[in-house]
């Protein structure tokens, strides 16, 4: 049977990808962010992951406003990235695991989540930057299941719905027949806002509450409406929904292995949180 080894949740800011491409990760601005990753990689290597379920939001690479799924699950043998228009280089294609994708789709639809299934799916920086951070030498041995959450066009799925959706995915993973070590990677956040007169808004108090709650009380976050989350975390801080899905996937009791938090990376409160089951 498959085994969920834990979760790595991290910000996915395009500028991180640009910093990697320019080789400036050791510079003073970037170091407080990148220095958190070697210990995360040490933790990860010891747990020998085979598969990563990546919970993220697309920023206008695969999905446009013509068709905007609330929840979408990749079911492809391979996922490519492409030019996103803001200058970060596309990454090498990532392998998929369609059998597992379909097992997840079967489970979540049975649990009444009517997802969009994607046999062709481009993955953007929100999926690839975390892979770059965790496997700087490349991730040819890793297969992924991309799970895209709409955090862009309101109405967004509620935090409560996101937690339940994650729990349903987790049920599918634990029941999967093959012996696989599965990592959950949730990406995005934490607080930030790119538009309006409140552009540059950051909220460390709410971020801390989210990080603390995500360890073992994620249901505390389900009391907030998506509108309240935008007010507290900023428009793009709504990406915390991805982290809530990811926490649902892992389920059970958890221990925080490591945490990092740094303002500012670009306009964002950048964070890393590694959790493992206890």
């Amino acid at each position: 049977m498959s085994n969920i080894i834990g979760s790595v949740s991290t910000s996915h800011i395009p500028a991180i990808g640009a910093a990697i491409a320019r080789g400036v990760t050791e510079e003073a601005y970037w170091k407080p962010f990148f220095d958190a990753f070697p210990p995360a990689r040490t933790w990860l290597t010891a747990r020998k992951p085979d598969v990563v379920v990546v919970v993220y939001n697309d920023h206008g690479l695969n999905f446009f406003l013509d068709k905007m799924p609330t929840f979408a699950i990749g079911a492809a043998a391979e996922y490519r990235s492409e030019d996103e228009g803001w200058g970060i280089p596309p990454q090498k294609a990532t392998r998929g695991i369609p059998e597992l994708s379909w097992a997840i789709i079967e489970q979540v639809v049975e649990d009444e989540f009517d997802v969009t299934t994607c046999q062709e799916m481009l993955v953007d920086h929100a999926c690839t930057v975390p892979l770059q951070l965790l496997w700087p030498e490349g991730w040819d041995d890793i297969r992924i299941v991309p799970v895209a959450i709409n955090t862009v066009q309101h109405p967004l799925p509620s935090a409560a719905r996101c937690l339940k959706f994650g729990q349903s995915i987790g049920k599918a993973l634990r029941a999967y027949k093959e012996d696989l070590n599965i990592l959950v990677a949730s990406t995005g956040g934490l607080s930030h806002q790119l538009e309006g007169e409140r552009a540059g808004f950051l909220n460390p108090h709410f971020d801390d509450l989210c990080l603390n709650a995500l360890i073992n009380k994620p249901e505390l976050l389900t009391k907030y409406t998506t509108h309240e989350i935008v007010e507290l975390a900023g428009s793009q801080g709504a990406e915390i929904l991805n982290w809530i899905v990811g926490r649902g996937v892992m389920g059970g009791e958890a221990r925080e292995v490591l945490r990092n938090y740094h303002i500012p990376i670009s306009n964002t409160a950048a964070a890393l949180q590694v959790l493992e089951p206890v």
Partner: protein, 125 residues
Amino acid sequence: MTKTIPGTPVFTGACAQKGYALNKMCYSFNSADNRAAFMADEDAYCAKYGLNAQQRAAIAARGVAALIEAGGNVYYLAKFAGIFGLNVQDLGAQQTGVTVEAFKAKLVAAGVHNEDVKAGRLSHV
């Protein structure tokens, strides 16, 4: 209806309808060929996507607030800004009416609680 959040445009279905042509044009800027076509003949490119007068004027002015007012979503607008080498700090400075240096300084100042959040001591859960 939910209350408004000061200084915070929420990208609703109404915005998605209103800004559809504008966002569709900006989405096309994922392609280098399309970015070049826009730069070669901006008028023709905007006409091809059917921008309305408000959207066309906002594109001409490179004005972020006006583009959002015209239904633009910042993720697609960022692809437009990328053509000119502008990043989200440039957009933030423009929308808040300060210099880019001042905008960046404000972001840095917001990092005063970094160590507290690392230690999880800003909230009690």
